[in-house]
Amino acid sequence: MFRLRGRGPRGTKLVAGAALTILLVAGCGGGETGGGGGGSDPEAGGMTLEITSPADGDSVEVPFTVEVASSEELGLIETGAHHVHVFFDGDDEEFLVVEGESTEVTDLPEGEHVVNASLRNADHSPAGVETEVTVTVGAGDGSDTGGGTGDDGY
C-alpha cells in the first residue's frame, strides 16, 4: 500500500517516528485517567458521592441494598448521565453498574467487607470521586435495607 523504497533513510525515520508517536499517544489516550483505586477525594471537583446505606460499620445480611447519593444526576448510560460502579474489597475488576440510586447485592460471603463506590462518566471513565464503607455480612439480624429500585443485581 505504501512505498518506503525511494525515500531516504531520513524519510523512513520520519515516517516511523510519526507512526510510533501516533500509536503511543493513541495507546495512552484511553483507559483510566482518574486517580485509580481507592483514595480519590469523595468531593473532587465539586462532585460528591456517598454511600447512604448501609452505614459504615453496619452488619448486614445478604441480600441487601446499597444506596448511593451524588451531586451528579445518575441515570442510564445511553442518556449521557453519570453512573456508579459498586465493587467490594477494592477489587474493581468485577463490579455492579448502578444507573440509579440503589442496587441489590445478592452474593457476598460472610465476614467483614469493604463496599466501594466509584462515580463514572457515561463513557465508563472515572469521574474522580470514590467512597467506601465497611460492613459485616453475617447470618444474624442486620440492618437489612430491604429491596430497592435496584439495577442489575449481582
Partner: protein
Amino acid sequence: MRNPRPARWFHAGVYVTVLVLLATGWWLLLGREGSPSVLARATGMSDAELHTVTGWVLAGLTALAVLVGARGWRTFWRESVRFRRGDAAWFRRWPAAIFTGRFGHHEGRFDPGQRIANLVLVATLLALVVSGVGLVLVSGGPAFVWFAQVHRWSTYVVTPVVVGHVIIASGILPGYRGVWRAMHLGGHLRRADAERVWPAWTERTRPPR
C-alpha cells in the same frame, strides 16, 4: 503476489483491533459491563478500558494509513467504486458460485461483492472511529448521546459485514478456497484460486512469458 507487505500488515493490524473491539463492544452492548470477559481477564483491564485503548490503536492505524498510504488508498478507492453492467450477472450467479466456484466474469481487482463490502467497511469503521473518539472526548452529556447512537448503529451495520468477510476470506466456502493466502504468508495465491475469483486481474498481472 496479490497484496504487498505493507498492505498485508495494515490489514492484519486492522483486523486484530477490530476483532477485539467487536468482542468487547458487543460484551458491553449486551449489558455485561462489570463481568470481565475472557479478553478482560487476560489483559487485566476492564472491557470498557480495553475497548477504549484498542479504539485508539485503530484510530492511530487509520491516521497512519492516511499519512503514508495515499497511493494505496487511491487504488483501493478507484477499484472499489467501479461498477459495470455485467456485475449484476455476477451477483445472480453468486449464491451458487460460493459452493461451485463458477463465479460470473468480472473485470475488477475486487469482485463486485468485495467492492460493496469494501465501501461499507470503510464507511462504518470510519464512523465508529470518529464517534468513538467523540464519546471519549465528551465523556457524557447531550453530545455523548448522539455519538453513542452513531456508534451503536454503525456497530449493527459493520458486524454482519465483518462476519461475512471472515467467512469468505477463511476459505471454508468451496468457491473461496485458498483466498486467505492473498493477505497472509507472503500474499502468494495459487494461480487456480486467483483465476477462479479474480480472472481479469489474474490475466492482467500474469508475468510476460
